[in-house]
Symmetry: C2
Subunit: 243 residues, 2 copies
Amino acid sequence: MTRYKVVLEYDGTDLIGWQENHQGPSVQSLLKDAIEKFCGMRPNVVGAGRTDSGVHAVAMTAHFDIDGAHSPETVMRALNFYLTAQPVSVLSCEVVSNEFNARFDCIARHYKYIVLNRGSAPVLQKNRVYWVPRKLDIDAMRSAAEKLIGNHDFTSFRASECQAKSPIKTLDRISISQHNDLIVFEFSARSFLHHMVRNIVGTLIEIGLGKPYDIDKIFAARNRAAAGPTAPASGLYFIRADY
Amino acid sequence: MTRYKVVLEYDGTDLIGWQENHQGPSVQSLLKDAIEKFCGMRPNVVGAGRTDSGVHAVAMTAHFDIDGAHSPETVMRALNFYLTAQPVSVLSCEVVSNEFNARFDCIARHYKYIVLNRGSAPVLQKNRVYWVPRKLDIDAMRSAAEKLIGNHDFTSFRASECQAKSPIKTLDRISISQHNDLIVFEFSARSFLHHMVRNIVGTLIEIGLGKPYDIDKIFAARNRAAAGPTAPASGLYFIRADY
């Protein structure tokens, strides 16, 4: 058995998310299909993150084991051949130790969330951004974002279906930058709760629209209903996993 | 009659181009449909450029005349309402003099062409770039591009169907910049011949791949066959019209 580490780009729009199930195509199922067509085996594929339906990846790391000793170039070319016309592309492939685990060895995960803040609906960036027509107050969002950094009980920003043992996480970084009509939120942490980035962005957007949300009070409430709505999946990108 | 100047964003992927005809949806036909739904009139819509099928616009300027004195905000909101779900969006709208002509008053047109230069096919930028898997030599393309700037007979870079009276054009600017895997070509001129940008890019890509094309010889040949192939429409964007 040889273990391969791959880095994937995907467009989540027409996928049910990372995780394989029988409701539709997922990143995992498309990748397993391609591996099976290549070598006849259908190993499990372990990813650094399990993104939801509609969420994209610029560079998601994953690993899987297959028999034989194919060169990483051969594996990458074969998978991309079988993934032609699918919304998943293998950007790089390398052989790693059988100890390497894309999920458990990951020491930092990076996401970005893109908002298009203009009066007219997106056309060129349809399904790639979240469209907010009303002008957002960047300074108000930045002040609120600073309070989210650090070690906190993120219960108020956690999906009800979240399976993590503890709601306590350390958010290492949030940055908010503006590029013409685009507002880009960047997040870094060792790990995130389910929907945590989208719930934080949804809350920051409410604050940017002038709603009286107070981050300290939201943390103290330890109640999902205290925070803002979940921002749509279309604006969210898994950017990078560090090892 | 009031004349309105609008600036449009569009995704050319599923359009037959700017020009209305009966083969499918065009930017012109979708905009005329929206105007007609708004006010019952179906005026001609004149654009700064007539892009081909598959070519996009970040900001294309156009004008049209309708009866009455609707505020520009009303016109923009109405058109965007009727354009919902269409790959065209109105970014701005203003009332202009009845003398203003989006085509003939334009003093400079700006295009960009985006190449994705990496081994793996595009997923997030599918239909938004031209994918060139083999490594391009940027310096060689830049040296060749410099020779294209200025006043030349561009017959060798002109589509056979081109209707311009003269093949002589002045190319004011070409710049080639690299952003990770993306190579962005930018072009500015008062006007361009049909397929001129795509034929120049197709030739520069051949040069970037090491093919022995010589710009001086291509100009001298005054023959379309002397230059490289037409680069695909998917990488081309109309960026801006100046007045």
